[in-house]
C-alpha cells in the first residue's frame, strides 16, 4: 500500500511534448482514474509510474521513495494491459504464478496464493487452460488475477475493458471496483470512457494534450467543470456548448436567448447539460433535427441556427423532424465560459 506523488513531470519525445509539467498526489488506497482522449498523455503518465518510460524531467515518488532510477521490475507495481498480455505458452495457473516465481515467493505459498487470486476472479475452473482457449472476459480476469496475486503496492490498469463488449464491460467494472475496495490497493486506471471514469473513480484526472485539465471527484467534475474541454467530455450526451454574445444580462446566439450575469459581456460560451433542458420554454427556438428513443429516456436534437442542442426529453416524447420547437433552460444550471474556454465563476 502506498501513496504516489508526481512532481513536475515532463515527458518529451524529441520535439513533441507528451506530458507537460504534471503534478499530482494520489492518496493511499485511492482509486484514481486518468481520463482523456487518445494521445492526451494518460497512458504515458501511467507507463512512467510503472517504470516502462522515464520522465524527461520531474520526480515520481511511490510510498515516499523517489523511484525515477528504480527499474520497473523492482517497483512492486502491477499492471493490467489493454491487450491482457498473458503469456501464451503458459496455462492460466502458470500465468498467475509467474510473478510469484519471479519474485521468489516460497513455493509452499505459491499454490495457495494462485488459487485465492483465481477464485477472486472466478477462474478457478479454468486454471489448466492456455490463454488461447479463453474468452475475452476470461482473459481479462486472468490478467487481473496475475496482477493482484502478489498484493502489489500499486495497481495500474491501462484501458483494461476496452476490448470487451458493452455488457461484459459493465459487469467487469463492478468486479474491478469491488476488488479494489476489498484489497485496498492504490489504483491508477487509464480510460477514455467517461462512464468508466465516473463509476469507478474516487477522483478523476481529466487530461488533454499532455496537461491536466481538472482533478476532482466525479461529482465535482460533473457539476463544476473547470473549462469547456471538461464540460464537453463528461456526460452522455455531453454538455451543450453554445458560443454567443453577452450584453446587458442577456446571452444571445442564433436561435438562443438566455439570461446571463450582468457583468458578462463580449464573446462567451454558454453551457447547459441536456438533462437541464426542457421541451417548451423560451430560451431556444429551432427545428427538431432528430429524435432517439432509448426506452427510459428520449434524446432530442434541436437545430438552433447552425448549432445542434441536445435535450434529454421525457421517455414518451415523439416528434417528426423539421417541426418548430422551443426549449427551456434551467436558469440555475447555466455555465459560462470565457473566450479562452475557462469557466467564468460567480453570478449566473
Amino acid at each position: 500500500m502506498a501513496s504516489i506523488r508526481l512532481e513536475n513531470i515532463v515527458k518529451r519525445y524529441g520535439a513533441f511534448t507528451g506530458v507537460q509539467n504534471m503534478s499530482l498526489d494520489i492518496a493511499d488506497e485511492e482509486f484514481l482514474v486518468l481520463l482523456g482522449p487518445s494521445g492526451c498523455g494518460k497512458t504515458t503518465t501511467m507507463r512512467m509510474i510503472a517504470g516502462l518510460e522515464m520522465p524527461t524531467e520531474g520526480n515520481i515518488i511511490i510510498g515516499g521513495e523517489v523511484v525515477n532510477d528504480i527499474d520497473a521490475r523492482d517497483r512492486d507495481v502491477a499492471m493490467v494491459f489493454q491487450g491482457y498480455a498473458l503469456y501464451p505458452n503458459m496455462t492460466v495457473y502458470e500465468n498467475i504464478r509467474f510473478p510469484l516465481r519471479m519474485r521468489r515467493v516460497p513455493a509452499s505459498d505459491q499454490d495457495r496464493m494462485v488459487r485465492t487470486a483465481a477464485d477472486m476472479v472466478e477462474l478457478g475452473a479454468f486454471l489448466d487452460r492456455k490463454p488461447g482457449a479463453l474468452s475475452g472476459g476470461q482473459r481479462q480476469r486472468a490478467a487481473l488475477a496475475r496482477a493482484v496475486v502478489r498484493q502489489p503496492q500499486v495497481f495500474l490498469m491501462d484501458e483494461p475493458l476496452s476490448n470487451l463488449d458493452a455488457k461484459l464491460r459493465q459487469s467487469m467494472r463492478v468486479q474491478i471496483k469491488h476488488m479494489q475496495r476489498q484489497l485496498r490497493i492504490t489504483t491508477v486506471y487509464v480510460t477514455h470512457d467517461q462512464i468508466e471514469a465516473m463509476t469507478l473513480a474516487d477522483r478523476i484526472v481529466i487530461m488533454n494534450k499532455g496537461a491536466i485539465q481538472q482533478v476532482g471527484t466525479p461529482d465535482q467534475i460533473y457539476t463544476d467543470p473547470a473549462n469547456t474541454f471538461v464540460a464537453g467530455f463528461i456526460g452522455g450526451p455531453p454538455m451543450n456548448l453554445i458560443e454567443g454574445t453577452a450584453t446587458g444580462g442577456r446571452f444571445t446566439a442564433p436561435g438562443v436567448n438566455a439570461p446571463c450575469p450582468a457583468n458578462l459581456s463580449g464573446r462567451i460560451t454558454l453551457g447547459i447539460r441536456p438533462e437541464d433542458c426542457t421541451v417548451g420554454g423560451g430560451q431556444v427556438q429551432g427545428l427538431v433535427y432528430g429524435v432517439e428513443p432509448t426506452g427510459d429516456v428520449t434524446y432530442l436534437s434541436v437545430l438552433a441556427g447552425t448549432k445542434q442542442v441536445e435535450v434529454k426529453a421525457a421517455r414518451d416524447f415523439r416528434s417528426d423532424i423539421d417541426v418548430p420547437i422551443t426549449i427551456g433552460f434551467d436558469p440555475a444550471r447555466l455555465y459560462f465560459f470565457g473566450a479562452d474556454g475557462q469557466r467564468i465563476r460567480g453570478g449566473a
Partner: protein
C-alpha cells in the same frame, strides 16, 4: 440490378470455365515436371538398374541391398550426421544468442546487412576462401601462431576432427546469419506488451527470454532449423572444394558419396539408389520434427 461480372466472362462455355483453373496451373506444373518431378522419377527408375553408360541391366532392389551393406555408405551417413549435427547446433546457438542481444537494438534494421553478407557470397567462392585460409594459404595457422596458441603449422587434413572442424567452420560462418535474421524477425514480431508485463511481474531479461520469448519463438526455430538441416544434409560444395572426403573418408558426406559413386565410378544406378534412400530419410526426419514441434506447441 448492377452486373457483378462483365459479359465477356459470362459467355464463356461451362467446359472452358471448368478447365480454366487447370489452365492457370499448367505453367507451374510444367516447370515442376521438368525441373523436379522428371529427374526425381528418373532417379527412382534408374536406381533399379545396374547402369554402365548405355548398358542398363535390371537388378530390382539389388542396388539398395548392396548399399545397405556398404560400409562407405554408413560412414558417409555418420559423417553427415556428425558434421551436420554439430554445425547445426552451433549455428542455432550462436544465432539465438546474438539475436537475443541484438533484437532490441533500434538500429538493427540498418546494420543487419553486415550479418547477411556471408549468405550473399557464392558458395564455391566461400569454400575456396576457407580452403585457402585453412590449407593452402595457412592463414589460420599463421594467425594462431602469432597469437602464440600453437607452435607449428597445423595440417588440417591430417586429423579426422580437424578436417571436420574446417567444414563445420565454413558452414557456420556462411549460414549462421540466415538463422540470426529469422530469429531477430521472430523476436521483434512478438507482442511487446507481453515483455513489459513480464518486466512488471519482476522477471529479469534472461528470465523473460527463457520463460516467454523463447517458447513463443519455438515454431519459428523449428521451421528455420529444419530448413537449415535439410540444406546441411546435402552439403557438397565445401566438401568438394576443401577436403574431398579426406582424411580416409572422414569428411565424406552423403552428397559427396553419391557424387563419387555417380561421377567418379560411374555407378549411376547405385548413386541413384543412394540418393533415393537419402531423400526418404530426409523427408521422414523433417516431417517428424515439424509435426512433433507443432503439436506440442499448441493445446
Amino acid at each position: 440490378m448492377a452486373k457483378a461480372t462483365p459479359d465477356r466472362l459470362r459467355r464463356r462455355s461451362p467446359r472452358m470455365r471448368a478447365a480454366f483453373p487447370y489452365l492457370l496451373l499448367t505453367p507451374a506444373l510444367l516447370y515442376l515436371l521438368a525441373i523436379t518431378l522428371y529427374p526425381g522419377l528418373f532417379a527412382i527408375y534408374q536406381s533399379l538398374f545396374v547402369v554402365k553408360f548405355l548398358n542398363w541391366t535390371w537388378t530390382g532392389f539389388g542396388n539398395y541391398a548392396a548399399i545397405l551393406k556398404d560400409r562407405e555408405f554408413w560412414a558417409a551417413l555418420g559423417n553427415t550426421a556428425i558434421i551436420g549435427g554439430i554445425s547445426l547446433a552451433l549455428q542455432t546457438a550462436i544465432a539465438l544468442t546474438v539475436a537475443y542481444f541484438a533484437y532490441r537494438d533500434p538500429f538493427i534494421r540498418g546494420w543487419r546487412i553486415l550479418y547477411i553478407m556471408p549468405m550473399l557470397f557464392m558458395p564455391s567462392a566461400v569454400a575456396f576462401i576457407w580452403k585457402l585460409a585453412f590449407n593452402d594459404g595457412r592463414v589460420i595457422s599463421d594467425l594462431l601462431m602469432s597469437l602464440g596458441l600453437i607452435e607449428r603449422n597445423v595440417d588440417w587434413l591430417g586429423n579426422i576432427w580437424l578436417a571436420r572442424l574446417t567444414l563445420i567452420t565454413a558452414d557456420v560462418w556462411q549460414w549462421t546469419p540466415f538463422l540470426f535474421i529469422i530469429f531477430v524477425a521472430g523476436l521483434q514480431g512478438q507482442d511487446q506488451e507481453i515483455e513489459e508485463a513480464a518486466r512488471l511481474d519482476g522477471a529479469s531479461w534472461p528470465a523473460i527470454f527463457w520463460n516467454i520469448s523463447l517458447p513463443m519463438l519455438r515454431p519459428i526455430i523449428v521451421v528455420a532449423v529444419t530448413l537449415r538441416g535439410i540444406d546441411i544434409t546435402t552439403m557438397f560444395t565445401n566438401v568438394y572444394v576443401m577436403t574431398q572426403g579426406s582424411p580416409g573418408g572422414a569428411t565424406e558426406t552423403m552428397s559427396y558419396f553419391i557424387y563419387r559413386q555417380g561421377f567418379r565410378m560411374f555407378n549411376f544406378g547405385y548413386a541413384s539408389a543412394a540418393s533415393v534412400l537419402m531423400l526418404i530419410m530426409t523427408i521422414i526426419i523433417a516431417q517428424t520434427v515439424v509435426r512433433r514441434a507443432f503439436h506440442s506447441g499448441k493445446a
